[in-house]
Structure formats: structure tokens, C-alpha cells
């Protein structure tokens, strides 16, 4: 649908640009993410790299890659999910308005926080959007129902078999 072809690049644009910005200046971004990373210290699984700059670079690459895929409508649901996964820590790292003392900065950060929340809402809508095709859940329920019918039919034929056999032999 034409609206989707418009909506997806609109939603993806901010991620592509912010991913490029992160790759251009990973140190500055790592500095901004420090309070959150300090809080998460030791809580993250071992496989996650502990170097903040490396994390920022990975996150930037995910934003550009998934952003481009979403913009072009390639694996849109998975890309939207990847972007949501990246947006949550980004928002928690950069827009901690509740910890801000200066009222005007606090207000600014609060607006960004709620805008990011709204973008996250948009990504969730993109992630559940099956474009009118039946969802996995619907297909599973439907398949289960069909299997039920087959089983019932089979059961009935099996139950009828002796009667039919006798008829064939005797009558």
C-alpha cells in the first residue's frame, strides 16, 4: 500500500541520520551513554562487549542497517523490531530528564523522551503490521483447526471400516 511506502522511510530517517552521527563521533556518544552503561555494569551478559565506544559503533551500524531495510520495506517487521531494541537504550541513555536539575534542560529532555516513546510506538506498529496478510498466530490456530478436522474424519473412517468390511464380505 502506498501509505506504507511513505510511512516507513519517514519512520526510518531519524535512525539512519543518528546512526551516521554515532559512527562519525562514537566517543562523544559513548560519553553521553556513560551514566546508563555504568548502571548496567556487570548486569549485561558476557557476550556483550564492555567497551562503550564499541557498543556505540555496533548500535550505530544497527540503526543504519535496520533503518535502510525498513525504509525500503525489506524485512520491515524484523527491522522495526531491531530499531525498537536500539531505541530503548538510546532513550534511557540520552534523555534522563528525571535526573536533570536545570528546568529548561529538563523540559527539553522530557520532550525528547516522549518523542522517542512515540517513535517507539510507531516502530511497534510497523513490527505488528502484517499488511493484511494473516498473522502467524491466526495461521497456527487455523492449522490446528484443520488438523482437528482431519483427525475427526480419519477417526470416523476407521470406525466405519469394520461395518464396510462386513458389508463387502456378507452382503
Amino acid at each position: 500500500m502506498i501509505l506504507r511506502r511513505l510511512a516507513r522511510p519517514l519512520l526510518a530517517g531519524i535512525f539512519i541520520t543518528s546512526g551516521i552521527n554515532a559512527l562519525k563521533a562514537p566517543e562523544a556518544h559513548a560519553e553521553a551513554a556513560k551514566p546508563l552503561l555504568d548502571k548496567l555494569e556487570g548486569k549485561l551478559p558476557e557476550q556483550v562487549p564492555s567497551d562503550p565506544v564499541t557498543l556505540i559503533k555496533i548500535d550505530g551500524a544497527v540503526k543504519i542497517g535496520a533503518g535502510a531495510l525498513l525504509a525500503f520495506g525489506k524485512v520491515p517487521r524484523l527491522s522495526a523490531l531491531a530499531l525498537s531494541g536500539s531505541l530503548v537504550p538510546t532513550t534511557l541513555a540520552n534523555h534522563r530528564f528525571w535526573e536533570e536539575k536545570d528546568p529548561s534542560v529538563r523540559q527539553q529532555q522530557q520532550v525528547h523522551f516522549f518523542k522517542n516513546l512515540a517513535v517507539l510506538g510507531g516502530l511497534l506498529l510497523a513490527a505488528v503490521d502484517t499488511e493484511g496478510k494473516p498473522s502467524l498466530g491466526w495461521r497456527a490456530r487455523r492449522a490446528a483447526r484443520d488438523v482437528g478436522h482431519w483427525a475427526k474424519d480419519t477417526g470416523e473412517s476407521v470406525a466405519d471400516a469394520p461395518k464396510k468390511a462386513r458389508k463387502a464380505l456378507v452382503g
Binding site: L3, L6, L10, L11, I14, G121, G122, L124
Partner: protein, 126 residues
């Protein structure tokens, strides 16, 4: 669907908050959107208040999933002038402010995309 019931209030919150702000302090918002408001007929404060009321009303409706398509459409219609009026990064002299405004501009485009998805991704029972 579960996720949609979660996504809509997330999408709507910023509009409810922003609309309440415009209703509370229309003067500041009229100042911010002056370049655009000057081109429109009617009193600037009244326009800002009207827009704030639309944002709050349609925002609450979208959050609750009442008339989700129409309310998303109303919010879309309100966000276009807001973005063009309040975030003219191209007209900004100060480089740091221009950068800030550009981020807001891009985020608002993202919101517009989200609203379009709220319009097309209507509920269907399955």
C-alpha cells in the same frame, strides 16, 4: 491486538503533553511558530489554542483506541504545521540551535510515519 493497544498510547502521549502546553501558554507557542502563523488568517493565539485542543482530543482518543484512524489522521494534520512552524532548522543562524531543530524535525517526520502506520494498520479480528 496486544502490541497495538500498547503502541497507540505511546504514540499519543507526546501530543497530549504538547497540546496541554499550547493551551497553557499559547503566547510562547505563537512566538515559536510566528513565521508560519503570520501567513495564516486569524488570531495567532486562537490558532495555537485550537491546535492544542485538537492534539489533546485526538491524542486521548488515539491512546484509548477510539476512532484510531480518524484521530491519527487529525494528529497527522496537526503535526505538519507544527513541524514546519516550530522547527525551521534551515532558517536558523546559530549552528547549535539549527542542529537541535534538525533533530526535532527528523523526529517529527518519524512521528508522522508512525501516525500513518496507525492509520493503515487498523485492527482486524484474527
Amino acid at each position: 491486538m496486544m502490541l497495538r493497544r500498547l503502541a497507540r498510547p505511546m504514540l499519543a502521549a507526546i501530543f497530549i503533553g504538547g497540546g496541554l502546553e499550547s493551551l497553557r501558554d499559547p503566547a510562547a507557542h505563537a512566538e515559536q511558530a510566528k513565521p508560519l502563523l503570520d501567513k495564516l488568517p486569524g488570531d495567532a493565539h486562537t490558532l495555537v489554542r485550537l491546535d492544542g485542543a485538537v492534539k489533546v482530543g485526538a491524542g486521548v482518543a488515539l491512546a484509548l483506541g477510539r476512532f484510531p484512524k480518524s484521530s491519527a489522521l487529525l494528529l497527522f494534520a496537526s503535526l505538519v504545521p507544527t513541524t514546519l512552524g516550530a522547527h525551521q532548522f534551515w532558517a536558523e543562524k546559530d549552528a547549535a540551535v539549527a542542529k537541535q531543530e534538525q533533530v526535532h524535525f527528523a523526529k517529527n517526520l518519524g512521528l508522522l510515519g508512525g501516525l500513518l502506520l496507525a492509520i493503515v494498520a487498523a485492527d482486524r479480528q484474527r
